[in-house]
Amino acid sequence: MFNINYTFHWNQAFRALPDMLEGALITLQIAVLSMLIGIVVGVLLALAKEARFAPLRWFANTWIEIARNTPALFQVYMIYFGIPAVLQLAASLFGIDFRALGINIFYLDSYWAVLVGIAFNNAGYLAETFRGGLRAVPPTQTRAARSLGFNAVDSFRLIVLPQMFRAVFHPMTNQMVWAILMTSIGIFVGLNTDLTGITQELNARTFRTFEFFALAAAIYYVIAKIVTGGARLIAWRLFRY
């Protein structure tokens, strides 16, 4: 385990840098996609939570409660292992055996399981953020919009939403950073193309654990910094008022 004679071999790590950067791209891709899905679903959940139709409220509440109060790893696990198993079981109760048919329709590969799992998590967190943001937009804004003849959807889309996004922009940036770092749990469902997955494979091959993981951490750090910096730039550009 602990080797007192450990000597650093940074060259080996730096030689693997192109591979690791390729992994970083996959990491970023999962984070961005999960964030986009999370924003859209998060807005819908925030609205559903205020809906008059009770089942819609229950649905949103359940989603938000699970997303915010269970480990993200558990959520990814459920999507990768749990839900396919339950669905297979449910199907077999109706006498359908998809496995016998050679079809595995409920099974997501590790990339999609991580993407869907993190999107699920993002949506839950963002829904609560958005709800707070919506409260920050005075109801008189909707009133003014409706009185100009905008229908309910346009009033929300053109007047309320842009103001809400300003109010929640910084918490949204945090969520984005969080999403990037969360992708590393893909390793538990066999994701081997993202930054952590590639790093682990290099480690397994070379046992240069410290060098590879230190380098990976540095790359995560730089990505996170670029995202927050970029977000600040976007905010400066968008919210001049």
């Binding site: 008189t140 804004q141 009133r143 003014a144 919009a145 409706r146 009185s147 100009l148 003849g149 905008f150 229908n151 346009d154 053109l158 007047i159 842009p162 103001q163 300003r166 919210f239 001049r240 008022y241």
Partner: protein, 240 residues
């Protein structure tokens, strides 16, 4: 023509309109005066359907506002309303504030909408503020922008809900001037106001509201000089 017939409305157990009836003819300016909480503002919200009513009915050019099949979005294009809190859209420039509904509600092209908006904004003295965000404007300027934004839709009616009440005293005059100009141009207006001198000057008729009812309605000379009801006299004595 706006016809209000025996309208009643409650918020919970509080009845704010207790059978209000009033007719406003096209081209007429009617001011509505009365104490705070007497139901004046609520009545305006009912006219363009922003508030539902419990009984009675309101007709705008013969269309019943609260009938189930009424297209309120379409109806509202004919009724401009300006609020006490001016409600500028903070994320849009003065020009964008004024053109948004023209483009998205009336479907006008950008050039067309810009031309209309610029004309209206110049009219209210904001021709040099087109690219400015509302946060950089004074209350009076924001309120004038709100008037221009409503007028750009070319409504047949304009409703004003205590539009000078939230303004600093020195800014009231510029907003009243804008409304005076509009009244002279023949716009049909219902003006809820605390500015008695203004009501007296521009109105064809003045309605006195108290406790959810119109106690008296008539020409300014009648209301201000020889009110028929003791409630009217008492109110005027308290504010003048």
């Amino acid at each position: 023509m706006i016809e209000i017939e025996d309208v009643r409305k409650s918020f919970g157990s509080l009845e704010v309109l207790k059978g209000v009836s009033m007719t406003v003819e096209t081209g007429e300016v009617v001011s509505v005066v009365g104490g705070s909480g007497s139901g004046k503002s609520t009545m305006l919200m009912c006219i363009n359907g922003l508030e539902p009513i419990d009984s009675g009915r309101i007709l705008v050019d013969g269309t019943e506002v609260h009938a189930p099949g009424t297209d309120l979005n379409k109806l509202r294009r004919n009724i401009g309303i300006v609020f006490q809190q001016w409600n500028a859209f903070p994320h849009l420039t003065v020009l964008e504030n004024t053109t948004l509904a023209l483009r998205k509600v009336l479907g006008k092209s950008k050039d067309e909408a810009d031309a209309i908006a610029v004309k209206q904004l110049e009219h209210v003295g904001l021709g040099d503020k087109l690219k400015v965000y509302p946060s950089k404007l004074s209350g009076g300027q924001q309120q004038r922008m709100a008037i221009a934004r409503a007028l750009a839709m070319e409504p047949k009616y304009m409703l004003f809900d205590e539009v000078t009440s939230a303004l600093d005293p020195q800014l009231v005059g510029e907003v009243l001037d804008t409304m005076r100009m509009l009244a002279k141009a023949g716009m049909t207006m219902i003006v809820v106001t605390h500015e008695m001198a203004f009501a007296r000057e521009v109105s064809n008729r003045v309605a006195f509201f108290k406790d959810g009812l119109i106690h008296e309605i008539g020409p300014p000379a009648q209301i201000f000089e020889s009110p028929e009801r003791p409630e009217t006299a008492a109110f005027l004595k308290s504010v003048l």
